[in-house]
Symmetry: C2
Amino acid sequence: MTPTPTGTVELDPRPSGTPVSRRGAGAAVYALTAILPALAAVGLLVMLGTSAGTARPVPSASGPVEHSVQLFAAIAVVILAARLFGRLARGVGQPPVVGEIFAGLCLGPSVLGALLPGVSAWLFPAEVRPVLQGLADLGLIALMFVVGQETRQTSFRGQGGAAVTIAHAGIAGPFLGGALLASLLYRDWAGPQASPVVFAMFLGSALSITAFPVLARILVERDMFRTPLGRLSMLCAAIADVVAWCLIAVMTAVAGRDTPVRAALTVTLVLAYGVVMTWLVRPWLARILTALEDRPEIRLLVLLAGLLASSAVTSAIGIHAIFGAFLYGLCCPSGSLSRLTERINSVSGLLLLPFFFVGTGLRTDVWRSGLDASLLGVTVLVVAVSMLGKLAGPMLMARSTGLSWPDSASLGVLLNARGLTELVVLNLGLALGMLSERLFVVLVAMALVTTAATAPLLSLLDRLTARRRDGGARRL
Amino acid sequence: MTPTPTGTVELDPRPSGTPVSRRGAGAAVYALTAILPALAAVGLLVMLGTSAGTARPVPSASGPVEHSVQLFAAIAVVILAARLFGRLARGVGQPPVVGEIFAGLCLGPSVLGALLPGVSAWLFPAEVRPVLQGLADLGLIALMFVVGQETRQTSFRGQGGAAVTIAHAGIAGPFLGGALLASLLYRDWAGPQASPVVFAMFLGSALSITAFPVLARILVERDMFRTPLGRLSMLCAAIADVVAWCLIAVMTAVAGRDTPVRAALTVTLVLAYGVVMTWLVRPWLARILTALEDRPEIRLLVLLAGLLASSAVTSAIGIHAIFGAFLYGLCCPSGSLSRLTERINSVSGLLLLPFFFVGTGLRTDVWRSGLDASLLGVTVLVVAVSMLGKLAGPMLMARSTGLSWPDSASLGVLLNARGLTELVVLNLGLALGMLSERLFVVLVAMALVTTAATAPLLSLLDRLTARRRDGGARRL
């Protein structure tokens, strides 16, 4: 159809006499100047009709409408708070994640709930929490996918051997420490579902986690990302992460199965899924995602559907969805997806992960845990053991592979940042009944302290190294 | 810190004897060849420890883990189904939204639930639905924001007067039809909360909706977007939408208030909020969003927070969140945001709106409504009245302002597409208790038919016009 020119329309622009603005904003102004007063009259009329003609029951005040207020308000508050605290953290020289974890704690019962219980109860009613939890779950699997991708992208270039050695030391140290702690804490601090062996294994794994994303961000901020030390620490963290997640996956598979046969079945299924993903799905994904390179929308859909499916599979097997997401991230081709991964990372970091922080915060109730001497004592003990294990293990091993003392120490400090990834493990431990609520609070504090300590410790090491170099230039 | 070169590491790449691949994919392979067998052994060990040492109760099989399977599976299925059906619709010459609505219906009790009740019950359990509903709500307010933005961007250039006249005819026609229908249907088909007047008003408004996004897509696909007729139809739809949404807002404000005083209060609050947004927030938003133009991330956050806040406010006032989102879209500056709006639109269309379609589908139960003669009869009647009102009203009025008959008819056909926007109104009506479940099914069918009829009717008009031009060339 070739439209005929509508010249006659233009000749007679205001036939109805309504004052229409010719600017683009006309619609909004029009709505208020002309329509709304008329509607007010209609409204009154309808009201009269309603009050006269109604013979049916009036609806209750608490319909679905009411909760949508809290839903939207809670979403806005959570996103803004995470962003604000992240900025503040950056302002005091900390990685944003420290502030974001803090934001979650502040919105939970520990701070907001204690200071303004009414606000907290209104903002996060029981009806809204499942939705926030769903958003947190989505953010979590997006995060684990990105971590998997980053692990995969880590180049082994010639440092593989040293990294494997150091990484295992970085696990062995805190793992031993964790097992020791477990024997001390089991009686009073373990969760209802923890057997002594599984509890020791869980605490060991929890203490040996390194936060890959936080590490990467710290390295970038300190201009260390492309240095050999930076590469080595990324590589150590990558290997340590794979090992730690495998340990935790096995632990999850075993925990709470009622018979050894069921546990063996779950472990077998997990192994089988890992084999299928690595040897069958990985090459197929590489082909299909490369083939779709010029159709970005379809590729995004395939990628997301695969991510959700892999998460659902591990969840169905009986270990947590995060393992499926992590394995999927490991199996997706690294090069061609890097821009897409970055976009997923930034969107989920901005709009989904804040809900994970808040979920953690809502589960962290310092007051109900009883803020007494034993809590503080155990916190100090756990922080000390976890830092000692993670600093000493890699440091000594790095020195033994030939690194200088300052570099070895820096490596230990870098691997000590636990950040976000630790929270993932802790929430899992709480959900599985491995941790008591009190121990959860202690370990969240440990995650915060070790992460926040990284930047100051690195600066301290820098200053010490500079002084030694000034004082002892003869050694070079 | 200037890192010292770690040359010694490179000299001794495999101290631990582990076969490490030097390719980038090393981590994944490493995980399977070296770690997993070791972990299997650990797993067996732990199992023995568990079965020997456990003195605590085993967890129930249905923990939070189980529902996360369905959550991820449901999300993947919903997104993929919407996309697939959208493609199929495009394949048969329909706008994708027709297919996407169909996808929702197919996943609901009408098709999947009837054919494979087990699958449907497993995929959408009660625990997962709130999350899907939350995603749908987010998609909905993103949609209404985009509709508001598009309404605002519609240029009035010289066609304002004709458009206002035609738009009002496009509302008056179906509104009258709807009111007539209401008097017929009130006794047996109205919802539990509907008084006769409000029911008539609701049905009238519901029939006079035009789907702005669908209209725009049809115009683009037919290369009519920049023609005078295309512009005029967009403008008519924009004005009609503002009027219709105002009517529905007033209706929502009035519906279900127990006293005229409370209803008057709600209407007053709505009007006050409209005034505040238009005269105070609008210029302020324009300033702040322009100032943030070079910080896109912050700007996105401000925009989203405002959107959520505005939705929460209207929801708190007592009308639905969608009105706040629409008003916010009207009040945001149009030019500088167009790329951002497009991004929000594409992300939410791909990842959030499918949940709205599925939510509608889950509420549409053809079988429980009783697929009998009366249902079919009323459906035919409603479709006929709504199409007649929407075609005849604008067509006659357009002709009277000087458009040719074929153009007038095309305009009527274009404004008849109700699509997605109609579903928004219908879900609102169901939630407010205006509609019975049966009438909801009827009106969903009407939305599908009127939307699907647009493209074929336009093609028919094209052919008729072409034949007349061939046969009656003397008239030109």
